[in-house]
Symmetry: C3
């Protein structure tokens, strides 16, 4: 009896990790839907209260409120409603209540009827499970085309 209890408990932990991976993919996708939807509030809720965001070591955002500028800022407003943030794919490694997702972001923009790539970057997303919900704690984005950006990828393979 004890044995079967333990087998079921171990199985439950494996199921929880699969659910965690699914939840993390969902967060990364909803990030795209909310920025393309011009929804700063929905996007901010995907980040942790104490999040840090570093875009190419030149743009920084700290905390949920500050992060809203990603949507409300001039650069993003200029591409609405023409943009599509195609996120992924992502390698996702989970360690208890922490996780790291490493992958791609390809941002397409429609201009004069033609859709092209506006920005493409490698990204490292560190997430934390708080209040039973996966939240983005730390995000680094590195534009392709720079030798130093490859370190971000190699940290994940």
């Amino acid at each position: 009896m004890q044995d079967l209890n333990e087998v079921v408990a171990a199985l439950a932990r494996r199921v929880e990790e699969l659910e965690d991976e699914r939840a993390i993919r969902e967060v990364l996708c909803r990030y795209a839907l909310s920025v393309d939807g011009d929804n700063a509030e929905a996007m901010a809720q995907l980040y942790a209260e104490d999040c840090t965001i570093d875009i190419d070591s030149v743009a920084f955002f700290n905390g949920r409120d500050d992060a809203k500028r990603i949507v409300t800022g001039e650069a993003h407003q200029s591409i609405l409603p023409n943009c599509a943030h195609i996120m992924g794919p992502f390698s996702i490694v989970i360690d208890g209540k922490s996780a790291v997702a490493t992958g791609y972001a390809t941002i397409f923009v429609r201009k004069s009827g033609q859709v092209g790539v506006w920005r493409q970057a490698y990204g490292r997303w560190e997430l934390i499970k708080r209040d039973d919900r996966w939240q983005i704690l730390k995000r680094q984005s590195r534009t392709t085309g720079r030798p130093e950006s490859l370190a971000l990828l190699n940290a994940a393979v």
Copy 2:
């Protein structure tokens, strides 16, 4: 004993939802493989018998047979065998035997050796589990570049 039976039953329901999510991703991917493969019959089987499809409020398809025109129609035939329907990513929300997938479709076409984006759209796919198989019941596709298209995204975040 009763307790462990209930624990296992609850676990089985969680596993089933994970399997459902995987099956839905598989349907959305096979949609792409079948249209790019010029396979109207395989594509039609992914839709429910009573499906409704609305592309930009201008093109409508009703039912499985009518849906085949997506593949056999002039527009699609003109891009074969040069096209690649890159579907996703998708937010997928499951409620019992119903589900909603919200995400992206980016259709690339090769023309004179150069690959470019032919169409990019946000999509809302409502699916239903019938005969133990997930099928597309209702699909809305909205080209990027239109302010009114953002409502489709915001319904999912």
Copy 3:
């Protein structure tokens, strides 16, 4: 008692298949991260020792060491660090310790500040689970734009 043991064992097999699917997606994503990261060694480890790779019936690689040329070869070196291999989505069918993933590869390259598609292909990846790890055993890649490439897609729908 026997009954519950069997229920739990069946559930464990379903969980293992979900874990397998996740592991396969992870392999396909890490392939991208390692080639974009100029990491031939990490990429080679994703392949089986006796792998075979066929790119458009013109480029062939046999075995893990030979496969490294995918990264170290002139063509790939010429697009670093400007490339992003966007893999997928993939239909993934698992049969015990074998699996077939069928889907897309879209390779973007930044050139003079502008990101465009360098290569787009349909791919069939046969994987095998050895030493408790999914490895790529056989890979076929077929550039879009050729009628004969569609057979690869239709084998999966």
